[in-house]
Symmetry: C2
């Protein structure tokens, strides 16, 4: 898939078929995520690859927007470890860049995925941390279910808005 | 450029040649940025496209890592407008996804770029806000200088680290 087309054509997918997503594919997604830039190249991202149905159910229970999670063959939880930061306060940006790479890689591989936000909502963080047994200092940023899209492919939308663009000064 | 290759091959570029980057190209970059997902599709991103040398110098003065800014033909400042959020607290993630798309699009177009972090460092935010005349409520997240790479193309690096990956639970 062409790079610019992939960026333009990626859409959130929330309905998944039963076909599995193998470990080799998951590694491709993680490799894309870890290719993201990070402040001082500190790579503060950590990942939990979840296939266990019970863990997926508990992750779903932690957010009002995550009910599809147990229907996905696999979900990748993107976490941050703020303590490793040399440049304090950038881990959310770094892990978000990694998440966007993961979504684009899924799309390029013909898979569907959606970014389910957990951080900074306290109840979602607590629920996910409990479900995954996260140690202190590991913060779940988001959960990305991945699968073969069951829904019809959505057309690319053009979100370009010229009113969002200023020149030289605001 | 292939999507997965583009993700793997993108590197930070900090040295730029004198060739200009035209407005049509800048629009392609902005279009890629605005194709990012955002919480509740609220699109809290705003952009300032800076070509003015004096503004670039003032942006450079606001951060210890931005001295190359005045050597770039153009820089794009990615800002957030938190007040438009339906889901409070997600604007940094949304704008970071947009920034990663922008970097990937630059790479796909044969351009070089680098993510210069400003938020959440108080002095950098204040300096950039002053340089750009940002109104209250608009927060500069990062500045991305864009140009034709002057440096030799860096080889792709494989940052994949299996120790960052956990299965089902931490």
């Amino acid at each position: 898939m062409d790079s610019l087309d992939g960026i333009a054509g990626r859409r959130s997918v929330r309905r998944f078929g039963q076909e599995p997503v193998d470990d080799e594919t998951v590694e491709k997604l993680l490799r894309a995520a870890m290719a993201a830039p990070s402040a001082g190249n500190q790579q503060p991202w950590r990942f939990v690859v979840v296939r266990d149905r019970e863990v997926l159910r508990r992750l779903a229970d932690a957010s009002p927007y995550a009910s599809m999670l147990p229907t996905a063959p696999v979900a990748i939880v993107v976490c941050g470890e703020p303590a490793v930061e040399k440049h304090v306060g950038f881990w959310v940006q770094d892990c978000s860049a990694a998440t966007e790479n993961l979504l684009l890689a899924a799309h390029a591989l013909g898979l569907g995925a959606v970014w389910l936000g957990y951080y900074p909502v306290h109840e979602r963080i607590a629920g996910a941390s409990e479900a995954l047994g996260l140690p202190d200092g590991i913060v779940p940023l988001c959960v990305v279910p991945v699968g073969h899209p069951k829904e019809e492919e959505k057309p690319a939308v053009d979100r370009y808005d010229a009113t969002f663009v200023h020149r030289d000064r605001w």
